[in-house]
């Protein structure tokens, strides 16, 4: 039974390939059937792993939540605790137990954005999800997400507990390019002033650093993410190129203090305008200029 875990891994890999091919070929029925088969193989893998772990002297390995190991850190050595090292912080207590794989895309994005607490670009959302939850989110799938959410909102406003919406530019209250936000956030957080991209970057750095502090053994993805932040914040790294979460959080907090007041003022002002001038849908998805003012262009 135990020896079959490698065979199971091979089977899971091949099933994934077949699911992908079936899906790309447009054969939904076959894809669904294969996916069922994949799920059962993953369950078997979990059981086999539990069995293996039961035979090992118990260490402080947190219980591998659901299906997560199957998708996270595929390059890590088999056995060991590494897949569980990126286990969800579980601080929300929501549907995380269901595992990343089973969650719909919008909920995965919501998880990542909730961790960051600020509007973020799809790439960062994907990296955060990869580092702290289960698996990367492909960027291609995120491109249409905001449009789908907008369509859903316009069809039935406020039917969902939250929507993934646009962040609004402070001057024109138009959707900011390539940034995702959550509709339940206050307007002040969803508008983007001139200093906001930097402030949001620093806030994201603090959130990521604090999340890493909460995990006993942060995975390589999380540490890579931390390094990405650290290298671009003054004082985020030692001269030897080393860093740690506390240092990053401290440096980010210090720089955020410099920009915070000006940024907050711009955001409060824009948020007031947005609430006064825009309807519900526009507050979430922004307004768009239609037709260029010719006189301005010629000016």
């Amino acid at each position: 039974m135990v020896t079959s875990i490698e065979a199971l891994e091979e089977r899971i890999e091949s099933l994934r390939g077949r699911v992908r091919r079936a899906r790309l070929a447009g054969d939904r029925e076959l894809a669904a059937a294969l996916r069922q088969e994949l799920r059962s193989a993953e369950r078997e893998w979990d059981e086999a792993l539990e069995e293996l772990a039961g035979n090992q002297p118990a260490q402080n390995v947190p219980p591998a939540r659901g299906e997560q190991p199957a998708s996270s850190a595929p390059g890590s050595p088999p056995g060991g605790a590494s897949p569980a090292g990126v286990a969800a912080p579980g601080r929300e207590g929501t549907g995380v137990a269901a595992g990343g794989l089973a969650l719909p895309l919008r909920e995965q994005v919501h998880q990542a954005l909730t961790l960051l607490t600020v509007p973020a670009a799809p790439r960062l959302v994907s990296l955060v999800h990869e580092a702290f939850f289960a698996g990367a989110i492909s960027g291609a799938r995120l491109t249409s997400l905001r449009r789908d959410e907008e369509r859903s909102f316009r069809a039935a406003p406020f039917a969902r507990p939250y929507y993934l919406c646009a962040a609004l530019t402070a001057d024109l209250l138009a959707p900011a390019r390539g940034v995702l936000a959550v509709s339940t956030w206050p307007m002040e957080r969803r508008v983007i002033g001139p200093l906001s991209p930097r402030v949001d970057f620093l806030t994201a750095a603090i959130q990521v650093a604090e999340s890493i502090l909460r995990v006993s053994q942060p995975g390589p993805g999380a540490l890579r993410l931390l390094w990405r932040f650290a290298s671009n914040i003054p004082g985020g790294m030692t001269s030897g190129g080393k860093t740690n979460p506390r240092r990053v959080a401290g440096a980010a907090e210090a720089e955020r203090g410099i920009h915070a007041d000006a940024d907050q003022a711009a955001r409060t002002d824009a948020a007031q305008r947005a609430r006064a001038q825009l309807n519900d849908a526009q507050q979430l998805f922004g307004t768009r200029l239609r037709g260029a003012p010719r006189s301005a262009a010629g000016g």
């Binding site: 790439r123 138009a174 001139p194 200093l195 991209p197 307004t287 768009r288 200029l289 260029a292 262009a297």
Partner: protein, 398 residues
């Protein structure tokens, strides 16, 4: 048609090189006829930069001024150009640019702080790639102007980084929108142009040709930025002569920056642009009925006979040099035309053989089988010496 009238009007306003409108319209009408009934090709930083590489070529000057689609003309004449950027290069370039600009230009901000001592509080960022969801060039240009005017007029905190500003430059009397992949930012009351390129700087060294191309493109942007700010009533000193080139360092994709001086390129470009505005003197020497129109039928098929097009091209003198192969779509056509001339051997050979136009003549002179008239005497001495050396070394005649 309305568009064309508008363009002519803009030309008079923005350039004003010919106060009596009639002459402008004659030039415009001739350029329209040369191009044929299609939309003119717009210049971009690359094509403007390419202008400076071969200033003496009338064919390129006329075709560019008329906005002819050189790629299609060359292809129909039987000499398709070897150009077009590889899509892998394009996607690598875009990915690197996106990386540098990700998260509110986090990486770029680090470079600016390291290389140009940008103070920490200056981190303001404005995305000019669209104006309120509107991506039309007019709207973007208007917004760029408005933000630049505000930044130029007010204190330090009125904008630091401007992502993808849209600038406008008068080229050959026609306003050209430049969509630079760069940021301009205000530091110490000067705007700096930042150019992001995806070729690697390895151990402090980068490919010289690529750097040269990047520098001249940046110079185009500096010129355009100066023109935009000039229209707003600011002096040219407001734009720095130094541009910041951002490239991946060594074998990783971590960006590194280098400051480059573009003063020389600016001089060259200014001279070229002034020359383009004198395009009417070039046109005077050409037959009035000249056109490079491909005469496309309703189905889009080219109906103009190839030989006729080639004849029309031959009317406009070209100045082929091997360098053209890197920058001009007409290069293969001109190379075939220039075959057998000393110009096709490159600038060095051309200068050494001053007064000798054809390779065959040069060979005759070397053999001593032709008399050298006065202008060729110097080259003839040189050629005979070379022939003698060759004979002594290889033991065979030329």
């Amino acid at each position: 048609m309305a568009l064309r009238v508008g363009e002519a009007a803009t030309r008079r306003v923005s350039i004003g090189f010919r106060p009596e409108g009639g002459a402008v319209n004659v030039t415009e009408a001739r350029l329209d006829r040369i191009r044929g009934p299609i939309q003119p090709r717009n210049h971009n930083a690359r094509t403007i930069a390419a202008l400076s590489s071969n200033p003496g070529c009338a064919r390129r000057a006329v075709m560019d001024a008329a906005g002819v689609d050189k790629q299609q003309v060359a292809a129909h004449a039987g000499f398709p150009a070897p150009f077009g950027q590889s899509r892998f290069a394009l996607s690598r370039g875009n990915a690197f640019e996106a990386q540098v600009k990700a998260d509110g230009c986090a990486e770029l901000l680090r470079l600016l702080r390291e290389h140009l001592d940008l103070p920490i509080p200056e981190a303001s960022y404005a995305d000019l790639e669209e104006a309120g969801g509107n991506t039309s060039r007019e709207a973007r240009y208007a917004r760029t102007r408005a933000l630049l005017a505000r930044a130029a007029a007010s204190g330090d905190d009125a904008g630091t980084m401007f992502d993808h500003p849209l600038l406008r430059l008068g080229v050959g009397g026609r306003p050209v929108y430049l969509e630079p992949d760069l940021l301009a930012f205000k530091l110490g009351h000067q705007f700096h142009v930042v150019e992001i390129k995806s070729f690697a700087v390895i151990d402090g060294q980068a490919d010289g040709d690529k750097v040269a191309a990047a520098v001249i493109q940046s110079a185009v942007y500096v010129l355009a930025l100066r023109q935009v700010l000039g229209e707003l009533g600011c002096g040219p000193d407001l734009v720095a002569d130094e541009v910041l080139l951002v490239c991946p360092e060594n074998f990783a994709s971590r960006p590194a920056g280098a400051a480059l001086d573009v003063r020389r390129q600016l001089t060259v470009l200014r001279r070229q642009l002034a020359r383009l505005e004198r395009i009417d003197s070039l046109l005077e020497a050409l037959p009035p009925g000249l056109t490079f129109d491909l005469a496309r039928g309703p189905d889009g098929a080219v109906q103009r006979p190839r030989a006729e097009l080639a004849d029309a091209l031959a009317v406009v003198p070209a100045r082929y040099t091997p360098d053209c192969l890197a920058s001009c779509e007409m290069c293969f056509f001109c190379r075939q035309e220039a075959a057998g001339t000393t110009a096709a051997l490159g600038v060095t050979a051309l200068e050494d053989l001053g007064g000798v136009e054809h390779i065959a003549t040069a060979l005759h002179l070397a053999r001593g089988s032709a008399d050298a008239p006065g202008v060729q005497a110097e080259a003839a001495v040189l050629l005979r010496a070379a022939a003698r050396l060759r004979q002594e070394c290889l033991g065979e005649a030329v």
